[in-house]
Subunit: 343 residues, 2 copies
């Protein structure tokens, strides 16, 4: 099956590059409010899985036992930029649970926010595991291990209790009983593949308390509230999740994933959104997702958010050479606005 063109990049009079992809917008009853392309093939949500991966942290009681703040819960769902606001909080959280950086299973990588990265280079500082964009998620895993009093070595293995708990949550939210196909994520933790339609359903249930057992509904709400209260901790300065959550005024929790996945949770409407660009280009996922939020009537007028919907392509002298924008399939899509979609 060929997916439609969700995003196109122009230069001069021509479309220079195109990005195909698929998107599912689901309701908690499993029906689709909207879809484009193949929403049935299994896809790794990558970091878009993080709000689900944080469920055991809340549901186990670990978050309360260690009196985690909303900021720490936001970091558990983060693909952060490695800025001091992120690394200092993760370091303090690790200390609070009696762990340290060497307990993290994720490897170090370059800091994403350039001014901080430049500063580190100037001062001869090397990135640590704290700088890994997933260090908050991993600290969340360690917090559950501590609370459960289970071995924290190998917590990133597919058969470790914390990873089984994540898989169980995902299974319950999607009604998928079979084992999920899985691969190793960039941070060494397992990532579970499932259809866009199924992940959109999981996110719609996440957004809909009455579709969930009470303890899960409470956990989901705390995660949503923490994400929209601290969008700068979920991503970072100038990052799309931070821009989109701010511009939507707290009505949507958004979460980007590697290889151009994007997820959204909309409690106001009881909707979940799952999107994947076929080719893995993050630039296209950002633009397609922003365009969908705009179609839903959720995206505000912040210039940074509008610039994701229609992004200028600049040359090295700063002149506009083209633009990145929603492709015809998405531009012409009829998506019911939030008011109409509301239950």
């Amino acid at each position: 099956m060929y997916n439609p063109i969700l995003v196109e990049v122009t230069r001069g009079p021509l479309v220079e590059s195109i990005h195909r992809g698929a998107v599912a917008i689901a309701r908690a009853d499993g029906s689709l409010a909207f879809s484009l392309g193949d929403v049935n093939a299994p896809v790794y949500p990558r970091s878009s899985l993080k709000p689900i991966q944080a469920l055991p942290l809340l549901e186990s009681g670990a978050a309360d036992a260690f009196t985690l703040s909303p900021e720490e819960i936001a970091l558990a769902c983060a693909s952060h930029s490695g800025e001091p606001m992120h690394t200092s909080r993760v370091a303090a959280w690790l200390k609070k649970i009696g762990c340290n950086e060497s307990d993290l299973a994720c490897g170090p990588h370059a800091v994403r926010y350039e001014p901080v990265w430049m500063d580190m280079i100037r001062h001869g500082e090397r990135p640590t595991r704290l700088h890994n964009n997933c260090s908050g998620k991993h600290t969340g895993f360690l917090t559950v291990c501590k609370h459960w009093n289970v071995a924290r070595e190998d917590y990133e293995h597919h058969d470790h209790p914390i990873q089984r708990a994540v898989a169980k949550s995902l299974s319950e939210l999607t009604d998928i009983k079979a084992e999920f196909p899985w691969g190793v994520d960039g941070c060494a933790a397992p990532n579970f593949a499932l259809p866009l339609s199924a992940f959109a359903l999981a996110l719609a249930r996440f957004a809909t308390p009455e579709s969930l057992p009470e303890h899960r509904a409470k956990a989901a709400r705390r995660i949503f509230d923490a994400m929209v209260a601290h969008p700068e901790l979920v991503a970072g300065t100038d990052r799309s999740d931070t821009i989109l959550m701010r511009s939507c005024g707290g009505r949507v929790a958004t979460k980007a994933g590697a290889e151009a996945y994007y997820a959204g949770i909309i409690p106001d409407a009881g909707l979940g959104i799952a999107l994947k660009i076929d080719d893995g280009a993050g630039r296209a996922a950002e633009t397609a997702f922003a365009a969908i939020l705009d179609k839903l009537g959720l995206l505000g007028s912040d210039p940074e958010a509008r610039a994701l919907v229609r992004a200028p392509v600049l040359n090295t002298r700063g002149a506009v050479a083209g633009e990145r924008r929603a492709g015809p399939a998405l531009q012409n899509a009829q998506i019911e606005t939030l008011a109409a979609a509301s239950r």
Copy 2:
């Protein structure tokens, strides 16, 4: 028209991302030795145009008037990494023609080779226009302006004599009489769009002396020889063009372009190759192009070159999580080997 999957990226048991695209391999008589996908839509070759953009430099007599070395001719065709071996030679060349950095129309951008970039940051050095990957091409344009004694201001404008000369060369090599659609490239120079089949024909003629007037055949051969003699100047340390030209042992001149274009010139067989990945992903263009050279029996056994054909996907701990490889359409393609293709 949907283009076939030329490259796929796996993670665990699944294909996580795919890259569609098209490729044309042409002979100098205009026939296609091989093609996949839509080779008739106009596409910008971007920096893959550089060997053609260098023709006026040789044909005008400017290269001889300023006694340009093969190294300087290679730099005229380069998308270099901004390493000292590149910038020092471009600076010396500018001085030789009585120009300086401020005459370059391209803007500064970050140096691509990380160790050099890190060093510059440590020493508080800002990139200059010399570091622009196109500074050699622009110095080539300036050299022609000097030789012709025409205004060098606005040499990057579409209607300047040097740009008209480039368009004329491209028109003659493709038999396309109509004006090419054009856009502004990242370096501010015009870039001309044409079908992959037409650009492959231009490259095949470039590779075939008897298809060209004598002065052009000599210019084309000097450009080819300079590129394959100095692959490190055409790209840079660890770059795909440098790796591929070395591994093919001087039998192919290769030139990558932005937004996932790739071009090849093969005098041994009188063939030209033009490839474009629909979505603009350089990772896919490198792998697809390396796979094609391999199918043609040209790619050697250098580990760096083999790693372009099948590239491991690593996580942040350095473990293999998947791989990037030719997709089914390319894996199963029957491309006549070079021996069979030879005229």
